[in-house]
Symmetry: C2
Subunit: 657 residues, 2 copies
């Protein structure tokens, strides 16, 4: 075992750290569980059959149990007549014996009488009182399931180490076992630390955030074969945390804390773990990104993990170090995540000397290939991990992965599959409504603005691109299909009209009447992302204003406070205004109403859907188009202020030529 | 809805039956569950963020919260001096405001004071009393996680229909939700029927078999999103079964019975379901194999399935009809099983006009291709399903699938993976011992006899082939490597010696002294499968006897009662003798001792391991070879009567040339 020094100076490699962890674990006791609870557990001993299955020669058909040789000369013309010596039903324990030219009526599942070695199906017989005529011969063994033919006594039925699925529990039941010895489930204590952390369900006071890690760790522990217990949130107080961990050591096999691991002011986990017993901290600082300030200790043979507080970091470290440990303890095989080859959508710089886990979104292009879009929101955001499809593992020695390189993307969850319907482009609540009417469907909506949507459509990476792009003549979308070279590659389906305008605080405290007020010193603006339809609209309006004022456009944009701050969605614009982070933004009326804000209409625009020719026949796309034409969609859309369905909604207005 | 007539005459297609079932289901009520119990459930409503995450601009580093523009001209030579107005720890709700040239000490996770828009890391500062020197500029927003940057209020966070993995429960926690609305879990009643059925754990009386289906269905219901309850075993008594189903209809959403569905004597499920209410039976007889006599009914809007009693049939029908229904009710997506392309190892005849599910074992050959070996043990055996790797779905119109055709094999379980170590060949308990010493490993042992093992080794389908083949000169194995053309393709590793001999009942009641007694009229024999080493040994001994007697070999084999009855393993031979099904068989001493039988030694033979060149470096193979050479293996082997390790055990005695 390697005991590491204090501080981060000696960050060790991921594989070295993993080895240290696995070298330090102590095996758990196995336990006997009732067969009712065996499903999902891992067998701790080989199962040797203690009985034959079936335990007797068993009739496989309804009919007559016979001596096969008595029937050898039977046919339709010359039935053989046998004397019926009785009847054996399934479950009967009668011990009848038959001799020459004798038989016994028998039900499927019943034990064959002594002397019999075959069953004639009832269809090929005719009963007459105490006798039966047999019209077909049977071979020895016909319609009989011999004792032990399914499982033979002494056979090795299931090997130690097998994960018990219903197929294995069925085997155990067939042997009559009512309990089974399985690997123990490691008892895992989960402790959250931090003064700012409160539990979900509590009132959110200023300065506090909800505890994400406890929930995620708890459910991850279950998925990795452990039995989790949440011990609550501990303040950043060394004495309280020490006391909590100390008590946890009495009753649990593994202890997870999260938060409090940075080397700065809040760092207490490290010191506490190191003081609690021998060997104390065995790993402090791993050459990994995210999650470098991880602390791993062992006290009384029990591992203690000080996980990072940032949720994405915390869960990545859990998966790299804790999950393999829990699986090892509980006998589960390594979690084999699915991998997919993908093309990187941009150059990805990596932390040199650290193994980096780059979270990505995957979208499928033509030929079934995938593009991986790195998620740039950082390890402090839970959405970085939660919205990711998978990750790219960039080794320590690699400085960057180039654009269009082929990489392996490890998918993050078996239960989260690639979307059946991918919508990339401009964000609109109308899309959410359409999706909600689609019924259960794995969909993925990536809001990158209208131009991004058209690019994705060109590469075949989306099924549908929502789009509202206007040219200098006020014409919507069709000019842009030409501009992007998509005339013979896409359908354009008419969506609906939307009211665009300025979103301002209720009561209009800043007295904003139009675009010229946005230039004012005392007015702050929230912009939309470049390439979005709304941004293009705003820039066109600004151009008009620049012309009117005889000024350069750059001069105007420089004067606008917040021009460079880009929100990705209409809602984000409204929220920024609602919470006072900006005085005004351009967005659709819908969100102004949602947030109780005032609205100054600027223009009705046309929101349409671009569909790549190759995606048009997809079932999910057809379902989406059907929804667009439905009465239900029109009704729901009309209820939303600022969204206006028309007679053309759902019509194809451009075909691939 | 199509109501089908009585009897099997109108068996309908699988897709038609599936449609009828899904058309008849009634949606369940959704339910609110605490977030603690949400993992694995399916969201019944879209989740819209009701707060910003984080809820305030949050420091991402320990340091000083500043107005970025105050730092713009700072560098190592010319630090900027700021006045410290206080300190904000994580969780603090202090509302400090800073002005020009002011700052606040701040901890990671703490809310930024009003006026600040960036954090300078503590590493780039130097504190002097109430002042701090800043040695680096920071840009606006640097080291700050803005309010709503992770999740923005009003954002659609998780869509209805999403299966909640830890990543989603983490999102729900981040929003502070303590409960969540999910699809209901269908409450499923499970009833076993049949006089012969008893529960595992009870004493096995003659004529009874253990209930397999209840266990398997219970655990399958869990895997498919339902909440199972086992209502016990009901005798083949219409009144009792009617009463049981009637009561189940009061409290459960779906009712599964198994057994009692054939059209013969025991058929009661059909009549009862049809009498209980409207519409009663909606499907009786499906064009499927196995599982044709399936009954599906609906009473009071609740589906009732009368599943076949044969365990493999029962589980296939469950997976074809019940699993999709349960998943639909519980909101789970369709179970997408992994598919693998494989080459059929033989021609497979299929039931014409019925969709057939042919269970197969998969073994990987060279080039990563797979061969599918159909499992021929029938639907009455649980091992048919439990030992299968997957199944081939043969459509209604297909009469047979030819040998070496490429087919899609659907894998049966995510949790049961392809073996890391595949051993095909002669059965020996020594192999089981070696495997038990290997530690956790997914292995597959297919006992097909020595010759079958050599063929599999030739095709690269096994990692190891256990082999004990003797030629006319008494030489073991090496001559056969030449005969099979494997000289430069395999390693031969020395195994151990085994005592072969005749296994007879304890006390030798039939007075058997040698091979000539097997010819006696009053002696029955149990043979081994053709191609097995033991069979070859027996046939060589028989040849010698024929020579001695001056008789033709065929005459001798014809005289032996049971010569054509082939057991696949040594244990099977011993069991046949032990339970009186045969008087004598040829097997190793090991099994004779196990079953308390007498043993007449015939010959010591050499049991060795053949390893294809390409498999030799495999980690699992190397682990196996290491075990062969271990003291532990020798010790364990020596404890087994009839197995004799030698100094050569584990040595390579033939290299690929």
């Amino acid at each position: 075992m390697r005991v590491r020094g204090k501080g981060f100076k000696e960050a060790i490699s991921v594989s070295e750290a993993l080895k240290i962890v696995l070298d330090n674990i102590r095996e758990l006791k196995t336990e006997k569980v009732s067969l009712d609870k065996a499903h999902g557990r891992v067998l701790a001993r080989d199962i040797i059959a203690n009985i034959d299955v079936p335990p007797f020669d068993r009739a496989a058909m309804d009919g007559y149990a016979v001596r096969a040789k008595d029937t050898f000369y039977a046919d339709e013309e010359h039935p053989v007549e046998l004397k019926i010596k009785g009847y054996i039903a399934a479950g009967d324990s009668k011990r009848i014996e038959i001799g020459e030219k004798e038989c016994v009526g028998i039900a499927t599942g019943a034990p064959l009488p002594k002397g019999a070695n075959a069953v004639v199906m009832v269809e090929f017989t005719e009963r007459e009182g105490r006798k039966v005529k047999v019209y077909r011969p049977v071979a020895p063994g016909e319609n009989v399931m011999p004792a032990g033919s399914d499982i033979m006594r002494g056979e090795l039925v299931i090997r130690k180490g097998t994960l018990l699925s219903p197929r294995e529990t069925a085997l155990l039941a067939s042997l009559g076992l009512s309990e089974v010895e399985v690997y123990g489930k490691p008892k895992v204590a989960i402790i959250s630390t931090g003064n700012e952390i409160i539990s979900p369900g509590k009132k959110l006071e200023f300065g506090k955030i909800y505890d994400i890690n406890a929930r995620a760790l708890y459910d991850e522990v279950i998925e990795n074969g452990g039995a989790p217990t949440f011990l609550g949130i501990v303040e950043d107080d060394p004495d309280k945390l020490r006391e909590k961990i100390k008590r946890a050591l009495d009753s649990f096999d593994v202890i997870l804390t999260s938060g409090g691991t940075s080397a700065g002011v809040g760092d207490i986990s490290y010191r506490i773990i190191d003081e609690l017993g021998d060997p104390g901290v065995i790993v402090h600082g791993v050459a990994i990104k995210p999650g470098k300030p991880t602390v791993i200790g062992v006290v009384n043979g029990k591992p203690i993990f000080g996980l990072p507080g940032y949720p994405t970091s915390c869960l990545i470290i859990f998966n790299v170090f804790v999950a393999p440990l829990l699986r090892n303890l509980s006998g589960l095989p390594e979690r084999k995540r699915k991998k997919i080859k993908a093309r990187t959508s941009m150059r990805i710089y990596s932390a040199k000397g650290r193994r980096e886990y780059v979270l990505v979104n995957l979208v499928g292009g033509y030929d079934g290939s995938y593009s991986a879009y790195p998620i740039l929101s950082g390890s402090g955001a839970i959405t970085t991990l939660a919205y990711a499809d998978g990750y790219i593992e960039v080794p320590e020695r690699v400085e960057y992965v180039d654009k269009d390189e082929t990489v392996n993307v490890t998918l993050l969850s078996d239960s989260i599959r690639l979307a059946e319907l991918t919508i990339i482009g401009s964000h609109c609540i109308g899309v959410d409504i359409a999706l909600s009417l689609l019924g259960p469907l794995q969909s993925k909506v990536i809001n990158v603005g209208s131009s991004g949507g058209l690019m994705a459509a060109k590469r075949g990476e989306c099924d549908i691109a929502g789009c509202h792009l206007v040219d200098e003549n006020g014409e919507y979308n069709i000019p842009f299909i030409r501009k992007f070279g998509l005339e013979n590659k896409v359908y354009l389906v008419r969506g609906y009209r939307r009211e665009q305008g300025f979103v301002i605080a209720s009561g209009n405290p800043k007295g904003i009447r139009g675009i010229e007020d946005i230039l004012r010193d005392d007015v702050s603006f929230i912009n939309r992302n470049a390439g979005s339809g709304t941004r293009i609209l705003f820039d066109l309006e600004l151009q008009k204003l620049a012309k009117d004022l005889g000024e350069k456009l750059e001069n105007l944009t420089r004067r606008i406070k917040g021009y460079e701050i880009e929100a990705k969605t209409h809602s984000a614009v409204a929220a920024a205004v609602a919470y006072g982070r900006a005085d005004v933004g351009l967005a659709i009326r819908t969100v102004a109403e949602q947030y109780g804000l005032d609205f100054i209409p600027i223009k009705d625009e046309q929101y349409d859907f671009v569909i790549p020719k190759e995606k048009y026949e997809k079932n999910s796309v057809q379902r989406f188009l059907k929804v667009l034409k439905s009465e239900e969609f029109r009704d729901k859309l009309s209820e939303i202020p600022g969204l206006i369905p028309t007679d053309e909604t759902g019509n194809i207005i451009h075909f691939p030529e």
